[in-house]
Symmetry: D2
Subunit: 329 residues, 4 copies
């Protein structure tokens, strides 16, 4: 079957998903919706799809699934509406910044037996998938220690920080999900430390721009996460998993891989400077996985429960910073 899509939200990430949908032979982009007419029009023009209101999409018979790329504070409501409307739902992370709101939303999804997939795109990065595959294939024996380095090229503006939910809910949440993806065991304690080293404005808003996190599981597996809102050398995204028989690591990606050698040494260009260019393949692959869920009978993964679990870890991290102790989850 061809999965027929409605796209909710025509902003930056909406355009990424529009490209992924129209580039997939098993999918069709039927309509786009956005509060800004010009944004919707741009996507409609480029990909030859219609423009409809959210209400119209809700009742469209020719739409099987929606991709929610609207502002975060609308996610939970839209999930509930489209769950009731019987559509399969792909929602950008996070479902909501409030754990209770997420739980309520999950209940609606469960009650309506809706298919909900959450946009933790990094699980679909081919390099990270290969790391996970190596673990599953027993290449490193039992997983013992996961190390995640995750640093943004530059700090977002204060306006973004204000609505972001803070570094743990906005940025580390991806790393919490990756930790869960790689540890293969429930996380039981969270310790976090947060500092303001990059931009004092972030501190004034009560947030942090630099964080170190330690996670542990019931059997003593450990995970360390290093976050910074600014890395002059680009978008630093590394994972490394140490196990009883070996180690597997995914190195950083570069858009251009050349090396210049002279009296100053050997120099390679910086990393990607933007998450969208770094994770281009991951965005296409996650939409393909969602299409497979809608078209076939597979369970959505990462699911709403995965979204909730990562948010719970983010909350615990925040509490840990405040209390200076490890928080049991």
């Amino acid at each position: 079957m061809t999965v027929r899509f409605g796209l909710l939200g025509a902003g930056r990430i909406g355009r990424v998903h529009a490209k992924a949908i129209t580039g997939d032979a098993k999918a069709q982009l039927v309509a786009v919706s956005d509060a800004m007419p010009a944004a919707a029009q741009a996507i409609a023009d480029q990909y030859g799809c219609g423009i409809r209101t959210i209400e119209a999409i809700e009742t469209s018979k020719d739409i099987d699934a929606v991709v929610i790329c609207t502002p975060t504070d609308t996610h939970a409501d839209l999930i509930e509406r489209f769950a009731h409307a019987g559509k399969a739902i792909f929602c950008e992370k996070p479902i909501d910044l409030n754990v209770d709101r997420v739980r309520a939303c999950m209940k609606v999804v469960a009650d309506t037996k809706s298919k909900l997939m959450v946009g933790f795109n990094r699980r679909f990065d081919p390099h990270f998938m290969a790391v996970r595959a190596a673990i599953d294939a027993g290449k490193i024996g039992a997983v013992e220690m996961v190390t995640i380095t995750s640093r943004d090229p530059g700090a977002p503006p204060p306006a973004y920080i204000k609505v972001s939910g803070g570094i743990f809910r906005d940025m580390t949440i991806h790393d919490f999900d990756m930790a869960r993806f790689l540890l293969g065991e429930d996380i039981t304690t969270v310790y976090a430390t947060g500092s303001v080293l990059v931009d004092p404005e972030i501190g004034k808003l009560g947030d942090f721009d630099s964080a170190s996190v330690v996670l542990t599981t019931a059997t003593g597996k450990q995970c360390m996460i290093s976050n910074s809102r600014r890395a002059t050398y680009g978008y630093d995204q590394r994972i490394e998993v140490h196990g009883s028989k070996g180690m597997i690591a995914a190195e950083n990606q570069r858009p251009i891989s050349i090396e210049l050698a002279n009296a100053d040494g050997y120099t390679r260009p910086p990393l990607h400077d933007f998450f969208m260019t770094r994770y281009t393949e991951a965005y296409a692959a996650e939409i393909a996985a969602f299409i497979a869920v809608v078209a076939g009978g597979a369970s959505p993964s990462p699911s709403g429960a995965d979204g909730l679990a990562a948010l719970v870890l983010a909350e615990a991290a925040l509490q840990s910073v405040r209390e200076g102790r490890a928080i049991a989850v």
Copy 2:
């Protein structure tokens, strides 16, 4: 303007170009032609274009440019026909395996003032382009020595070898073009040695599967090329340029960049195993460059003259192997 394309040849490389054309916002694929109806139909179905005969494309008012992906022995004739028809022409390499035939074809292109671009895709690889840009920016001073390593994952079947024109015209020709692209100066002598180390069948056909080539220019710049028809570790494509102030190199590309460490050491996966996955970006970029040529006023590059120059070097290499001496070109 939107450049309207006719695609001649719906085989493997034809499909690559069909994808590049339809993925470019400044281009439209109007029609495809192929002697095998099923092949043409497959492209028509996937990209929603028409199917026409070559004759029909020649006279189509709604087609500005053609991409020639038919068998090599038809290239020169088709170039001449579409030159007379007033279409812009992108032709896969080589124009012909015979130097005189290429020269005659070039004359028609010149007489008709046609735009002809030749498919030396590697010039458009982003990593090789960055090497060239570094040279142009003076990063390594004066170019002195170019080293090109170019090895295929595996030898082609004898049937292909028979019509290929031999290793120098078929495989090294890309490296000859790259040498010209990077040396920035006319090549004046060619020395080559060829051996049969991979597959005795290749030797029975009078061809070689392993070759080392040395090129020199009038001012003494040097280029070494290493070719093999088989590399167990994948499609080995490296260039390195040593100059008076430094060196710039493009390393091999890997589809997956992870590293596994254990008691046996640190292991990264093999290289790409196919030229089409290795040069995906290059194929899209060369079509984009051709579109810019057709839409704007730029001169085609690489041009027919570039195609001819590389073929002349291939002929000289063959003569060099036979005579055991450097051949002046």
Copy 3:
């Protein structure tokens, strides 16, 4: 001046220092002492030095400095004796496993105005020194986050674990010192988690074999340490320092740097499998630094205070594991 040495302890590390002393043109190995006559004799034979009792070395007029390589529980006593004897002292880490005992020992050193240098050899590794030099030269701006990966090739036997003082005092102590060396600011809190993932025997002795540690400073700088008693791929010793303007890292060292490529991928040999081969240059350089301290007027560094500071951090780490919270130091 030539610095004349007495060597206390002719075991494994004693032999390392004997080689460093005799290889340094500014030093002379006068005598060695060991409770095991054969061990002392081996060094005497190899390097042509005398054998004396500890008492004799204490009163030897022809000895300026001693290197203490005896068992840990004798270090503090020997430091005090040789401080009273007016000798310059180089002592292998740790001074003692008990913080109070170290403090008392430091007092004697201070009262006698003795020169005491502690054997944190890693400060003298040329690669780590280059990292520190890059920081001092402002290459990465303000230090923000230090990441230390420190994993042994294999776990020591239970007999060693019993007298080691535990993973934090025995193994992490090197990383605590490196953190202090690189952070450039006093550490104010320590959080640690410890697990038994490698060898249950270690757990039975009340110790851990896997640990993750987070350190913070007053201004919010952060340091993460990852320790394991077993890494199949060799002696894993990496440091990375992220700052406001960039990052500087020291990668692992390999005894042999070749790469094999085949259908299984690209494989480099494992790392060093032993701390003595990994830190060969560091051992020679630290003795050279000590010689400069004795011969010239420089202050010893790392000093007894540095030894104490690292031990305090180890104690705090142990407390942190027990209490599940960050400990202020």
Copy 4:
């Protein structure tokens, strides 16, 4: 047995060998000789050996072996004298710059049944040895193509060029020996091109500073050598061997292996800037190998015949440049 050495020549390379001899437990440096008294005295002072004339060393009963580090034009004469004197001989390369002179010298060595080892130090580099060991272990199948990159940090002064015998006899000779070491088969043809790109003074002396060489064997194995007298990035010494089942390569060595990352990219320091620091381990290992030859019954390797074979290749290369064709050897 302890091998007792006389060292002929106390210059730069003589000091390297003095250090290697005195650092080897199986060797003793008995005496040094040099036309410059101060040079001999410096070694005598540092290592506690005697100073003797060449004549005295010839007749010294307490000397088993000599190491010849005198100027090149004295090598053949000294080899003959010490062959007649019954000493084992280690001679720095080359034996002589003239092939006939070398042949005559070899005859004396053969007639006197003397042990002669030639100083092609690179065969003893641990990384290159590991490459050879991998080949011998069948890791890459049959050797097919060897690539040697060998570039000096900077051109020597004209005075050195004058007595050097030219780039092929002085510099490429090491690469010829390495090619023979790795190809495992006699070289049958030599093609070379030489240019003056670095220093016009070198051209005025009739020599080249940049060279590309292709060697072939009877079965069609190929070797390419790239030489330059100047590389701004340091002493560039790479070898790579491609075979039927894979490839093995030895990468460049760096004295300091750190990496700085910032907005300009990722930068590692330059390579070694001097052959003596690059090949420190190789110099010690070749002396150890020579000691084993003298003390045991092993045949010297590389032998005088190896020295001759490399010189013959150098002569052929020079002829090839002049005649523009491949020379059979």
